[in-house]
């Protein structure tokens, strides 16, 4: 008997694990570690996303899916581009009513996934978080129960267990044992909470490498269903310690959203069928080299 490898093409991973109407979790945060190669594949396959959940701060990972018209509703703590501006598709589709927004906050994003990761039926919040408008805007996901020890009312959030999570990390072996070399964001709880997990990586490494680096922050292969090998697969967002975000491309994206988003999708999503094709379209080796050129710690 031999051990089963989990490395597969983005197309196969998406067609196998992303079902129409699913609750989808996407990892990364702001313009960092968004699993864009797999997300572009979801758009190519026109998978309908029933619900989208993200780290407390989503970026193009959410905005692009929304702009492609694939998202029915989003759990929204924040969708934006930080110093580069607001999220155009998110704004447009939510203001028009095409996208249903379940308003939430960072506490919801973190604790709903943590509750899901721990198989808790719900997750209480620290006192004080009831003082905002958010729970009133989303009475389906925020409710009060009694503290059984004091009898006081305590605001709680629903636990979330996405049907499938799509997360990017730096390295994994063929069995899905993965090493995160930068910030972890909420990716770890998202992986634990989700039924199926697709990890896209910069590099597939030998198992021996993982065994020698098990002191690093990592994820066990037993939670991972597919490993997708896509160097530069976070572009136009950053992959910590590999390359920074492509500010020029992100600005082009933001402009395209306002002017002609279908053209953007044609050029960058529907056109290039593979990761290699995509990398050529965005500027090839020259662009890649530029994004990698900078001092990084350790």
């Amino acid at each position: 008997m031999t051990r089963k490898e989990k490395v597969m093409e983005a197309g196969d991973a998406v067609s196998k694990f992303v079902k129409d109407g699913c609750l989808l979790g996407v990892g990364g945060m702001h313009m960092h570690n968004n699993a864009m190669a797999v997300i572009r594949e979801i758009i190519r396959q026109k998978k309908k996303i029933g619900g989208l959940t993200t780290s407390p701060s989503a970026c193009t990972n959410a905005d692009m899916l929304i702009g492609a018209g694939l998202v029915e509703e989003i759990y929204c703590s924040y969708v934006g581009f930080e110093h580069l501006g607001l999220a155009p598709n998110f704004r447009k589709f939510s203001e028009s009513g095409e996208l249903k927004v379940r308003d939430c906050d960072e506490a919801f994003s973190v604790y709903s996934l943590r509750g899901g990761a721990s198989s808790l039926p719900f997750h209480p919040l620290p006192k004080g978080l009831e003082a905002t408008s958010v729970p009133n805007l989303n009475e389906d996901d925020y409710k009060f129960t009694k503290d059984p020890f004091t009898g006081e009312d305590v605001l709680c959030v629903r636990s979330m267990q996405p049907d499938v999570a799509i997360v990017h990390c730096q390295k994994a072996d063929a069995y899905g044992n993965a090493i995160f070399e930068g910030s972890k964001f909420t990716d770890f709880d998202m992986i634990k909470a989700s039924d199926k997990v697709i990890i896209q990586v910069e590099e597939v490494v030998p198992s021996e490498y993982i065994l020698e680096k098990s002191h690093k922050i990592n994820v066990p292969g037993l939670l991972v269903d597919a490993v997708v090998d896509v160097p530069f697969g976070c572009h136009p967002t950053a992959c910590h310690r590999y390359y920074t975000y492509d500010a020029d491309h992100l600005k082009e994206y933001l402009k395209a959203c306002k002017e002609d988003f279908p053209a953007y999708l044609d050029k960058y999503v529907y056109g290039p069928k593979t990761n290699e094709d995509y990398l050529e379209v965005i500027g090839g080796r020259e662009k890649a080299t530029k994004l990698m050129e900078r001092d990084i710690p350790w």
């Binding site: 934006g80 203001e95 939430c104 003082a131 910030s183």
Partner: protein, 248 residues
């Protein structure tokens, strides 16, 4: 030395508001708060600790200062916490100062990032509330904005993302300072009060650009300029001017 920029003046005002030993936290779009916190550490407050939101970096070295709050250049730090650990910290009494902002800010220091409109009829969607609800548990908080006009300084926010001096008991001490491109404000009896204006800005200009009645004391001074020392440090940390020149 070249002229002091508005960003430098704002960063210095925020830095000086931090006391030695305090723990400070900030979220997205925080180049100025990062600069201010590091400046405080390198001047009067070596025991300040600061946490850079989503990156989880605690006391990063910040040379050079990145623009994104999750940049991997922040990882040269004293600790990198996972975000859920940062959230745990946000709720802990260790946090003395939060940096906050909003699409709308009102006289009581409430901040709104949800949007403009009414429940069910939001006509302008903001990015979302992110960590602002934790202001309810902060020691105190500093509001900073990149613009100051009657659209963002409003009589009453449409939605509360970060609670200011709301009715009822607060776990936090509420907002303590507001720093904008026009001046610096603090609070008197839970209402915003003008403290100083930046050079070239009159009291009248601030009043015209504020959508509510600001408390204006008799003597409103000029926001102090950074010292040469402070300027040297800020220009070293932010050689490209990404934060320092961010306001025009």
């Amino acid at each position: 030395m070249v002229e002091v920029t508005v960003g430098e003046r704002m960063a210095a005002a925020m830095a000086r508001h931090l006391k030695d030993g305090e723990v400070v936290i900030m979220g997205a779009f925080s180049a100025l708060p990062m600069l201010a916190s590091r400046l405080a550490q390198l001047t009067h407050a070596p025991n300040v600790s600061f946490i850079c939101g989503g990156s989880g970096a605690i006391n990063p070295t910040l040379e050079p200062l990145p623009e994104s709050s999750c940049d991997d250049r922040l990882l040269r730090a004293e600790c990198i916490y996972a975000l859920p650990d940062v959230i745990d910290l946000e709720a802990r009494p260790e946090i003395d100062v939060f940096f906050a902002g909003g699409l709308q800010i009102d006289a009581k220091g409430n901040c709104n990032l949800v949007g403009i409109g009414k429940p069910g009829e939001i006509k302008f969607r903001g990015p979302g509330s992110v960590g602002l609800p934790f202001l309810s548990r902060a020691g105190r908080y500093i509001i900073y904005t990149m613009a100051h006009n009657t659209r963002n300084f409003v009589p009453e926010v449409d939605f509360i993302s970060g609670p200011g001096f709301v009715d009822g008991e607060l776990l936090s001490n509420g907002p303590s300072l507001v720093v904008t491109p026009l001046g610096v404000m603090d609070f008197e009896d839970k209402k915003m009060r003008l403290k100083s204006t930046h050079p070239g800005v009159s009291v009248e200009m601030v009043k015209e650009n504020t959508g509510f009645d600001l408390i204006v004391p008799d003597n409103v001074g000029e926001t102090p300029a950074p010292t040469d020392d402070e300027l040297t440090i800020m220009r070293r940390l932010d050689p490209s001017g990404a934060a320092r020149d961010s306001i025009r």
